[in-house]
């Protein structure tokens, strides 16, 4: 896992460079999020609450599925937002806030793996919520099984592919931004995303094939 995590950053940019870029982004702007961040920089706490509510759940899921460990995900989640709060004084709206946020999260995840050398791939999250048997229809059962297979396949993905897929699905980022966050070039990010989607598609379709 450590080796995988390292390979996430080995691409085109070293980790230190990637960390610098996280706090000095230079891409296009997202006016709404940036405006909220600027208002928070000027002391408007309500602006931060709005910004937080806009991104907190997606970021939490991103970290949870990247870590496979709820406690670690919560620790990193808190660390990420702590860094965002600290960075408010030096924040400049020269980049899309989502890119900035997920770059910080990505680097915090890498740092977390490095700090915890004995990081193991233990999974303590529930793959699926079991549907209530009372109103359990055949379709619901099928959907539930599909979800379980998807999440299981997601956990089985290599870290790099899972990271790219989660950035694509949870953060809604394009390939350029994903490549920037993961420290790779666009083609590498595109390739990883393609492989990830292919494996997940296979996992979802597998029961149909077997049947």
């Amino acid at each position: 896992m450590v080796a995988n995590a390292r390979s996430l950053t080995i691409g085109t940019l070293p980790l230190s460079r990637a960390a610098q870029l996280a706090y000095a982004p230079s891409m296009d702007t997202a006016p709404e999020d940036s405006a909220l961040m600027l208002r928070y920089r000027d002391g408007d706490v309500a602006a931060f609450e709005a910004l937080y509510k806009r991104h907190n759940d997606a970021l939490y899921r991103y970290l949870l599925r990247l870590c496979h460990h709820r406690d670690s995900a919560e620790d990193i989640f808190q660390e990420v937002w702590g860094k965002i709060i600290k960075a408010r004084e030096s924040y400049r709206p020269t980049a899309k806030f989502t890119t900035f946020l997920y770059r910080v999260a990505h680097n915090c995840f890498i740092d977390h793996i490095r700090r915890n050398k004995r990081h193991t791939r233990t999974v303590d999250i529930e793959l699926d919520h079991q549907p209530d048997t009372a109103d359990c229809t055949e379709m619901q059962v099928e959907r539930s099984l599909a979800r379980r297979r998807l999440l299981q396949a997601l956990q089985d993905l290599p870290d790099e592919q899972r990271d790219v897929f989660l950035l694509h699905e949870e953060a809604g980022l394009g390939l350029d931004h994903i490549a920037s966050i993961t420290g790779t070039n666009r083609e590498t990010a595109k390739s990883r995303l393609r492989y990830a989607v292919k494996k997940l598609r296979t996992a979802i379709d597998e029961p149909a094939r077997t049947s």
Partner: protein
């Protein structure tokens, strides 16, 4: 958020079915306790570090420190040297107690050569000062007494008279150190303490006046005559003759030897 995702080129990277299936699994949310902790942290960080009531104290302290520094520097650099025209005033500032005359004697010993050097310098600077002072007939005892009564008005003649007194005292001190005329030490010699530095400052600041008997000596004809005798004994014959003339003018009835 999904706009950019949909613009990703071709359907090779994205799969609508996979995305839809994944979005069905996104029902997990961040714990409420975590949300509250982060929002509290954000609110705490946004609070101003110092209250408005105390925000003025730091700049005020800096301003006060700067003003004090400037004032002290100006005071030290531009303060004039105290215009203490009276030799006696400055001379007795370091007056030693009666039971400790040794220090004062040493101080006077150190002062003698300095005063002698200054005296010669002063004579070079103002060679005509002695004759000029002696050529003033109106500078009689009556005039001096009158000026003494109007003491608050600063007058150059008063300064000269006091400087003469100072030089006289310096001469007396020098003679005492040389030991040639210890008995002839004048009655009005300074008591045990002698501020040589102050005397030196006065000598440098103004040209030295010729030696003469002070007001105390000229108060009575006998003491004046004694003062003249002291001057003659000290080798100041010219000054003694001038004093004799003044004595004769002030006390025409007094029989001078």
């Amino acid at each position: 958020m999904t706009d950019e995702r949909n613009t990703i080129d071709s359907g090779t990277e994205t799969d609508a079915g996979v995305s839809k299936a994944y979005r069905d699994t996104t029902d997990e949310r961040a714990p409420e306790s975590l949300n509250r902790a982060i929002l509290d942290q954000a609110a705490k960080a946004a609070r101003p570090r110092y209250s408005r009531l105390r925000s003025w104290t730091r700049p005020m302290a800096w301003a006060a420190t700067a003003m004090l520094s400037v004032a002290i520097v100006l005071q030290l650099t531009q303060a004039p040297i105290p215009e203490s025209s009276s030799f006696g005033d400055s001379a007795y500032e370091m007056e030693a107690p009666a039971d400790a005359p040794v220090g004062a004697t040493e101080e006077a010993t150190n002062a003698v050569p300095k005063i002698e050097a200054l005296r010669s310098t002063a004579k070079q600077v103002a060679p005509g000062a002695l004759s000029e002072a002696r050529q003033r007939p109106e500078q009689s005892k009556a005039t001096v007494a009158e000026q003494k009564q109007t003491a608050p008005e600063i007058d150059a003649s008063e300064f000269k008279a006091k400087d003469q007194d100072m030089l006289q005292r310096a001469d007396d001190m020098a003679r005492m150190q040389e030991g040639d005329n210890l008995e002839a030490a004048p009655v009005n010699a300074p008591p045990q303490s002698f501020s040589a530095d102050a005397a030196m400052m006065r000598l440098v600041s103004e040209p030295a006046a010729p030696p003469a008997c002070d007001e105390t000596a000229t108060a009575a004809a006998e003491s004046w005559l004694q003062c003249i005798a002291d001057m003659e004994a000290a080798g100041l014959g010219g000054a003694a003759r001038e004093e004799r003339k003044l004595l004769a003018a002030a006390y025409p009835d007094f029989d001078t030897p």
